[in-house]
């Protein structure tokens, strides 16, 4: 009796499995062929760049990192190297790693959906697109001395002197930064109690801490562009 019941249950499970051969393998094979042909045709017509022999005495101007790091190099305009080149990428990597552990929304597991995970998708897409926008600026719009040129402008060494930069007074900067993190962490919890309760305090602090840092990075860039502010916090030990 028990056995036959079990059988009934297993019959009801929807089996959406198909044979790997040929359903998957054929497509993989085709994809491999297309990629190979594409790469070879492109390689036949376009040469890989090669400049003159390296010369430690004569720096390239502009000297650019490989394109996938140009987002970080572009961030160097707005931040000191310890942040743009080391801490920011580390935060990005750590942030990516913790995604599965802070996103405890059970919906959207294994299918495309925006409606069921608006917050996760929009936050990730913001970061993803912003990363590529910075790469585009660093690759295409930065000329000699890393000065800005629109795509239709010619790169010259004859560009107007950038306006002088100034720092925020130390107490103002510290107050702004602490206030930004305080409100960034507290306000969303007060406004959206349900969200806070759903993910719990530890997940909430990690998620919002990362998100506030991401938006803070963008805001600092805005402060620099709009108000010529170099550092929010300038001390002999560390500048932010």
């Amino acid at each position: 009796m028990a056995v036959s019941e079990q059988r009934n249950v297993s019959v009801e499970i929807k089996d959406d499995k198909v044979f790997t051969w040929p359903n998957l393998v054929a497509k993989e094979f085709l994809a491999a062929i297309f990629v190979t042909v594409g790469l070879l045709v492109y390689s036949y017509f376009v040469d890989a760049p090669l400049r003159e022999l390296s010369n430690p005495g004569q720096a390239e101007n502009p000297a650019k990192a490989p394109w996938y790091f140009l987002g970080l190099q572009e961030a160097l305009v707005y931040f000191d190297p310890w942040f743009a080149g080391v801490v920011l990428p580390s935060i990005i990597i750590l942030g990516l790693i913790v995604i599965p552990y802070v996103d405890n929304n059970p919906k959207g597991n294994g299918y495309y959906t925006f409606r069921e995970r608006k917050f996760a998708v929009s936050t990730f897409m913001f970061g993803y697109i912003f990363w590529y926008i910075l790469i585009y600026i660093g690759t295409a719009l930065r000329g000699p001395f890393w000065s800005f040129f629109w795509p239709w402008e010619e790169w010259t060494h004859d560009f107007p002197t950038p306006p002088p930069l100034h720092n925020l007074p130390l107490p103002v900067g510290i107050a702004l930064l602490l206030g930004f993190y305080f409100f960034g962490l507290v306000l969303p919890a007060l406004i959206n109690r349900k969200f806070f309760n759903k993910i719990g305090i530890i997940r909430y602090v990690i998620t919002m801490g990362l998100m506030v840092t991401m938006f803070g990075t963008v805001l600092k860039m805005f402060l620099r562009l709009a108000f010529n502010i170099k550092y929010m916090i300038a001390t002999p030990w560390i500048n932010i």
């Binding site: 393998v25 310890w82 599965p100 299918y111 560390i238």
Partner: protein, 256 residues
Amino acid sequence: MKSLQELKKLITENEIWRSVFRHGYTDTPRNRVLQIISNVWLHLHPAKVREHGTKIRFTWCMGGITFFIFLFETLTGILLMFYYTPDVNRAYADIVDLMYVVPFGRFLRNSHRWGAHAMVITVSIHMLRVFLTGSYKPPRQFNWVVGVFLLVLTFLLSFTGYLLPWDQLGYWAITVGTNMARATPLLGHEGPFAYILGMEANNDIRFALLGGTSIGAPALLRAYVWHCIGIPVIASALMMVHFWRVRKDGGISGPL
């Protein structure tokens, strides 16, 4: 027609053929399964997969293509190694030779270079797909973490290769990149609080990466060894984990 059948029989029905191909080619469910599980390369796959895993509009095929480009880069990279010496006096000349002297050398170098760029793009699109389908959700949390490390390793593979031509482009790109290391808090000699650990130009983390205070012969050798051996070995190990976990976690997406 009849003689063709006989010829086929002659070729396939003997000990030698049977020792290589253990099952027939007739399209039966049994042979479809055997095709996968009796083939050392294909048995990375299960005999059956969930249907969405075979849909290109679902997977964009980007993970598979990234792995394929890794193999493509391995092959072209091995061929390039025959013509390249990681020595500051020879490296650039070897690349120029590849471009102008070695038969198909230019084609070989181009395809390795463009393959490297393509791999960075496909791995990042793969990550986007995995995110948008929620494929990092239970039980696949750990495989996402492995994937993030593989993403970083892809960047590092490409980055270490950038220096090898020993031209102005690579030299200054690596200069810009590794100059970041000296700004590392605590560990780089120009970074915040570096004085606590007594960091100088000749003992900080940048020194460890370059094998010197500036980019010279040791840096080129280090880039070469990391590029050709170190990182590929680590990445291969992580790829084994990555693919194994896809199997163990019940396919590429969806709850168990």
